[in-house]
């Protein structure tokens, strides 16, 4: 595959994985937690590096999942002991991220791991960092990691589909039925962490939040069906990646940045033109009603 094709595939996988998983967060009104986790997983990555002395995919995923779930756990703990929930997120997020930043300075120069890279990512380098097994070039590592994480997420969402749905919609009723509400919560946080880490190299910690939240928020404006919302969110993620890439090539600007911008563009379009919840249709409906009455 050509260099461009790899980048396009990587971006699309980021859009798809983050879109589907992030939509669940949007529905739970926990978008800010995505912001927190996308930063604190840095600590998980650094931690995994210190344990294994390498930047391998699997330990990184595990480290990130642990720290991501820990982030959610600390936030929950502070929250339930009376700290305001936005303050709780702020405190946990900054402390764990800061710890990651401090620890990263102990990582030698031999390894490509620094704060700027973690924050911004660089999708343009992705095609060169390939996975080779027995001398065979299997394509970029990031593609494999994203594909793997996407499959895991889809597996969990399929297995716990109705549990995820009910715990989001009506946690009290879910608890009444004996559904493990907290388990589902942390499962989702784990999925978010995995998606974040897998996207890290490509778009970095800041822009990954756009990929997690915006497609879900856009799909939310377009449908009243849970399943369709998840699928739509994934598709919007892909669409944003493709559009963003085209734009970046055309104007020679940051690819990841353009992708994130594209998510915002689709959100605005949906916000205005959505047949159900768009402001334009609302105005038209109002106008029709008032002209009918006069």
């Amino acid at each position: 595959m050509s260099y461009d094709a790899w980048i396009l595939l990587t971006g699309s996988l980021v859009g798809l994985t983050c879109g589907v998983t992030g939509a669940l967060l949007v529905l739970r009104k926990m978008s800010m937690l995505a912001d927190a986790i996308s930063h604190t997983v840095l600590l998980g990555i650094v931690g995994a590096f210190f344990v294994t002395q390498s930047l391998n995919g699997l330990p990184m995923l595990i480290g990130a999942a642990i720290v991501g779930v820990l982030t959610a756990f600390f936030v929950q703990m502070l929250d339930s002991s009376g700290v305001q929930s936005d303050a709780a997120i702020g405190v946990v997020f900054t402390s764990l991220f800061a710890l990651g930043v401090v620890l990263i300075s102990f990582v030698g120069d031999s390894v490509h791991l620094d704060v700027e890279h973690a924050l911004m990512g660089e999708i343009a380098f992705i095609p060169w960092d390939t996975l080779t097994v027995q001398g065979m070039n299997l394509g970029p590592k990031a593609v494999w990691m994203l594909g793997f994480v996407f499959l895991i997420n889809v597996l969990f969402i399929t297995l716990f589909y109705k549990e995820i749905k009910l715990t989001t919609f009506d946690p009290q009723f879910a608890a009444l039925l004996g559904i493990p509400v907290m388990f589902i919560h942390y499962l989702l946080m784990g999925m978010i962490s995995l998606s974040t880490v897998a996207s890290f190299d490509s778009v970095g910690a800041i822009l990954v939040v756009a990929m997690l939240i915006v497609p879900g928020a856009t799909a939310y404006l377009l449908t009243d069906r849970f399943l369709i919302l998840l699928i739509l969110s994934g598709l919007i993620g892909i669409l944003s990646a493709v559009t963003g890439f085209a734009f970046a090539v055309l104007f020679n600007v940051s690819i990841a940045g353009s992708m994130a911008c594209a998510t915002g563009l689709y959100f605005i379009l949906a916000f205005i033109f959505s047949p159900k919840h768009g402001i334009l249709m609302k105005q038209i409906r109002k106008y029709r009603l008032s002209s009918e009455q006069s």
């Binding site: 529905l27 009104k29 297995l159 716990f160 589909y161 109705k162 549990e163 749905k165 009910l166 989001t168 919609f169 009506d170 009290q172 009723f173 608890a175 009444l176 039925l177 004996g178 559904i179 939310y220 449908t223 009243d224 069906r225 849970f226 369709i228 919302l229």
Partner: protein, 250 residues
């Protein structure tokens, strides 16, 4: 047999207990009104029984077995506003959730479950609205959908927290009718209720509550002026019309 037996139940939110050493028993097949002033702990009682809030002490038995082994027998009509109304889900979807406890983890609702859910919607007169997103229903219609969800649960003991608040006469009638049907099927129903005037018409049992039970038993025996005074204390005089009605009856 007792459908519900509560012993030594104590619940606190902060320091002072909201419920202290509450104990009572509800016979199978009864229709019980839970009555008491604002802040008496009625909602707290239901939530504690359903283990939605932690308790300090208390033994709860449902049909002779500990609560956690009887979850499938429990139906619950929550107070409105406790769900995410904007969640992308239809009325039928919500009713289907009543079947989740029967389906078990991981499995999906099949044709049979959908049939049951549709039947439940029909029973509360909401079949036309099955595909509506739930925030696009009126308050009374939403209440009916949650009633249908409880119906779909096919429970043996139902808990309803103020089901008549904000519904019209027709919906109130529909709820009463459903409660009566449940009773005839030998099911047990507990309802938090505020309108003292209708207590004697709706319920064959009452539980008078103010932090601890003032009385619990058949309506004619327990729903007396004296007990009510004890339950409502000084606030009874604010009941105005109602207390006059009560005075005549007692």
């Amino acid at each position: 047999m007792n459908a519900l037996s509560v012993q030594n139940l104590t619940v606190t939110y902060d320091k002072t207990p909201v419920l202290q050493k509450v104990g009572f028993e509800i016979p199978k097949g009864s229709l019980t009104g839970i009555i008491g002033p604002n802040g008496a702990g009625k909602s707290t009682l239901i939530k504690a029984i359903l283990q939605l809030i932690p308790r300090i002490s208390g033994d709860i038995q449902v049909y002779g077995k500990p609560y956690h082994r009887q979850r499938r027998l429990i139906g619950y009509v929550p107070q409105r506003s406790e769900v995410d109304w904007d969640f992308p889900t239809s009325a039928l979807d919500v009713v289907l959730m009543g079947r989740y406890g029967h389906i078990g983890l991981i499995k999906r609702p099949g044709k049979k479950e959908i049939q049951i859910a549709k039947e439940a919607l029909r029973k509360v007169g909401m079949e036309e609205y099955q595909d509506r997103q739930i925030s696009q229903l009126s308050g009374g219609q939403q209440q009916r959908v949650f009633l249908a969800r409880a119906l779909a649960q096919d429970a043996q003991i139902y808990f309803m927290d103020e089901p008549f608040v904000g519904v019209d006469a027709a919906t109130e009638k529909a709820i009463i009718q459903l409660m009566q049907e449940w009773k005839e099927e030998g099911k047990t129903v507990l309802v938090v209720h505020h309108d003292l005037q209708t207590v004697e018409d709706y319920f064959d049992h009452v539980l008078l509550l103010n932090k601890s039970p003032v009385g619990c038993g058949p309506t004619q025996k327990v729903f007396t002026m004296e007990n009510l005074k004890q339950t409502y204390g000084g606030s009874l005089k604010f009941l105005g019309e109602n207390s006059v009605v009560l005075q005549e009856r007692v």
